[in-house]
């Protein structure tokens, strides 16, 4: 078990952690690497930021009042 990951290993693990569960140990390995490596830290922050930006974007998408009314009309038949 080694503690210090190389940048490549860290990035592979980090991108995986965005969508899948990783072990507690792996989480600690990532944290440790990111606290010491400026480049990987920058990369990780940029990916987080992109995810957040699009998350915000989709949460702003709502059905218009007209659309809701239209659906209700159809339902009432």
């Amino acid at each position: 078990m080694k503690w210090m990951l190389k940048c490549r290993e860290n990035t592979l693990l980090y991108t995986k952690s965005l969508d899948q569960k990783v072990s507690i140990i792996q989480r600690m390995q990532i944290k440790m690497h990111l606290s010491m490596c400026e480049v990987c830290n920058r990369y990780a922050k940029q990916l987080d930021w992109i995810d957040q930006a699009f998350r915000k974007k989709i949460s702003n998408e709502t059905l218009s009042q007209e659309a809701i009314d239209h659906i209700c009309e159809k339902l009432k038949g």
Partner: protein
């Protein structure tokens, strides 16, 4: 009754609409699919009961989406074959080459495991950039440039209620392959945003 229909549609409408949007990428199609979903749920009766749950409604919506794609691509599969990553096996050996993420990932690093090129500095990430309509257009533009599968998988990840396992089921792929799709999507988005936004700002200042 009218009141309860209205609150039913209001309560679940947006969730269904966002889900549909991530798949069809077209507001009017998404709206139609939501309407069909509510209609089907309503006709099946019992809308006071189980049809109130969003899981049930999303289940119907998923079928509607499949029908939609069958209509649109009568002879074509929804996702083109070559867009899908080749079957990858789950491999936790972080040193294995090539990586499951594929060539794009591997080219980012030199054999010793260090970055091949420094990661571009975005400077201070504009906190309020998302309020900027110009920036929103750039995000839309970058998203449009992604292949359908990547765009769809990535946008589904942005939905809070969508778990990775559900997306794998929808796309009929393994978690590792979904990881590959998402990695490609994020890499391309990052590149596109850098070119369209951050570089542009640098030149201006």
């Amino acid at each position: 009754m009218n009141q309860s229909i209205h609150s039913w549609v209001t309560q679940y409408g947006d969730t269904l609409y966002r889900y549909a949007l991530t798949r069809v990428n077209n507001r009017s199609d998404a709206q139609d699919l939501v309407q069909e979903t509510f209609l089907a749920a309503y006709k099946s009766g019992n809308f006071e009961g189980r049809s109130k749950t969003s899981t049930y409604l999303i289940g119907i919506l998923r079928h509607k989406i499949m029908d939609h794609f069958r209509k649109v691509y009568r002879h074509k599969q929804h996702f083109s074959e070559n867009e899908m990553p080749r079957d990858q096996t789950e491999d936790d050996d972080l040193n294995s080459r090539p990586s499951p993420q594929g060539e794009i990932f591997d080219s980012m690093f030199i054999p010793a495991g260090c970055w091949a090129e420094p990661v571009a500095d975005w400077g201070r990430t504009p906190e309020n950039a998302l309020l900027d309509s110009e920036f929103n257009q750039i995000l839309d533009g970058c998203l449009e440039k992604l292949p359908d599968t990547q765009r769809s998988a990535f946008m589904m990840r942005t939905l809070e209620e969508q778990k990775t396992e559900d997306i794998c089921k929808d796309f009929e792929i393994s978690p590792t392959n979904l990881g590959v799709l998402l990695f490609r999507a994020r890499t391309q988005l990052k590149k596109c945003i850098e070119i369209s936004w951050f570089k542009g700002k640098e030149e201006i200042s």
